[in-house]
């Protein structure tokens, strides 16, 4: 029980590897996610980003390596850990027949049933800019961007210490991206560790404290935003983003 009080950050991955036969998806990934920090994960399609997210969220067991959440070395991401992390996948993962509020309330009730707290659905949804009239419309009538907001709202409702976001900016317009970026910054200031993958270079540059380049399953570059030299970070970060190549942005 005392373990529940200890923070699960920093999350440290050590030589995480994943392969299917001869196809290597991740090779010896070392990564540290700190509290109060946004890490941007960039890389071409098929570089292993989604696999890394799945491993962090406990949906996939890596073939090798070590996952450390706070003080704990973790073999299985158990319920106690899952209560403190949230994963927003590439697809919004919402029940299409239910409304936005109902979708959130289901997960809130599930949390309550486990003895966990959750922020009120309406507050979170409005905070992310969902109009009040849309709260009870079935999610299947939503645009991709709206659904994406609902998914993010569901993720942050439980005040997670680790927030995993796989391409959250897809299909959002400039205003939506700005809104989402604002929400992310707020989450960071609340104390969350955030891992974010995106092809949206501008937003990445704006919100990330650190950029990590994943290439063919390995982390090949890392740049950190220093306190002193914002221009230097921008230059180095652009270099990393340039390494992904322009073709892949179009593909996303």
């Amino acid at each position: 029980m005392s373990g529940a009080q200890q923070p699960i950050t920093p999350i440290v991955l050590r030589s995480i590897s994943q392969r299917f036969g001869r196809k290597v998806v991740l090779r010896g990934v070392d990564l540290e996610l700190r509290a109060r920090s946004i890490t941007g994960l960039v890389g071409a399609n098929g570089a292993g980003k989604t696999t890394l997210f799945l491993i962090l969220a406990g949906l996939l067991q890596p073939d090798g390596g070590e996952r450390r959440y706070g003080e704990r070395v973790v073999a299985d991401i158990d319920l106690e850990l899952r209560a403190r992390l949230a994963y927003v996948a590439h697809a919004p993962q919402l029940y299409p027949g239910l409304g936005a509020r109902a979708n959130l309330e289901l997960f809130a009730e599930l949390r309550h049933a486990a003895g966990l707290s959750s922020r009120p659905a309406d507050d979170v949804l409005r905070g992310l800019g969902l109009p009040a009239e849309a709260l009870d419309r079935p999610v299947s009538t939503f645009s991709r961007g709206m659904a994406q907001r609902v998914a993010l709202a569901r993720a942050v409702a439980g005040d997670p210490e680790l927030l995993l976001l796989d391409e959250p900016f897809t299909a959002l317009d400039a205003r939506g991206r700005a809104q989402l970026a604002g929400a992310l910054l707020a989450e960071r200031d609340r104390g969350a560790a955030i891992l974010l993958s995106s092809h949206d270079q501008g937003t990445l540059l704006r919100v990330c404290d650190r950029l990590v380049l994943l290439e063919a399953g390995a982390i090949v570059r890392e740049v950190e935003r220093g306190d002193d030299d914002p221009a230097g970070f921008a230059a180095r970060a652009s270099e990393v983003l340039g390494a992904v190549g322009p073709d892949d942005h179009a593909a996303a």
Partner: protein, 226 residues
């Protein structure tokens, strides 16, 4: 580096060779004909061991699959697949020789009784397992393991189903009532079959483990170049 297992397989076959000769000689020359079923009874000496082999392999496959699922062991995965293949072979043997025996003794290839049906069922589960292992994607390997476990659970059901459906098929009673000289012929035959099958099983399992290690080697080679 030579491993212990490399000596096991030739040893199994070496031990099996005289047994095969001995059991064939016993089956065809020594053993008196069974009174009601006639000469065709000689099929019994390999038909029944094949059935036992099929069930034994299904159980081995199920246990190995459980270990694979719980501990993510690649060796267990190889053992599960190899056992399923040999079990499939045994089941096929039963299903093909059964009708021949049935035709010779009862005049009908398929009596449709519980044991036949349930053996066929076990065989179908094994076949489904092999299909899933072969055509499923990487993630379905775990599902295949669950399938193998269900196959193993089916084995006691097979015995139970016989009790539930009392029919024309020689039940376990026939085997138990066999005169001693029949048993003397039965055991060498069973041992010969088991030795050969375990030899094949060991070869296959080692092939699969080797294939996995080969994958590792390729990956390491690629890593060292990167």
């Amino acid at each position: 580096m030579k491993r212990k297992s490399e000596f096991v397989v030739p040893l199994l076959f070496l031990a099996a060779a005289p047994l095969v000769v001995y059991s064939v000689q016993r089956v065809f020359l020594h053993t008196p004909n069974e009174r009601t079923m006639g000469t065709a009874f000689k099929i019994f000496f390999f038909h029944v061991p094949m059935g036992w082999l099929c069930m034994l392999m299904a159980v081995i496959s199920g246990v190995a699959a459980y270990v694979q699922l719980r501990r993510r062991s690649r060796t267990a995965s190889a053992v599960a697949l190899a056992a399923a293949e040999v079990g499939f072979l045994g089941g096929l043997g039963v299903m093909l020789t059964g009708p021949i025996w049935g035709h010779a003794t009862w005049g009908t290839p398929w009596t449709g009784d519980a044991r036949q049906v349930t053996t066929a069922l076990l065989w179908l589960v094994i076949a489904a397992y092999l299909l899933l292992r072969h055509f499923g994607q990487h993630a379905s390997e775990r599902l295949a393991a669950a399938l193998a476990i269900f196959g193993a659970v089916n084995v006691p059901l097979i015995y139970y189903a016989v009790k539930l459906w009392k029919t024309t098929h020689p039940t376990t009673g026939v085997v138990a009532k066999l005169p001693p000289e029949m048993w003397a012929t039965f055991w060498p035959g069973l041992s010969a079959l088991l030795l050969v099958s375990f030899g094949l099983f060991a070869i296959r399992a080692r092939q699969l483990v080797l294939a996995g290690e080969l994958d590792d080697a390729y990956v390491r080679l690629e890593d060292s170049r990167a």
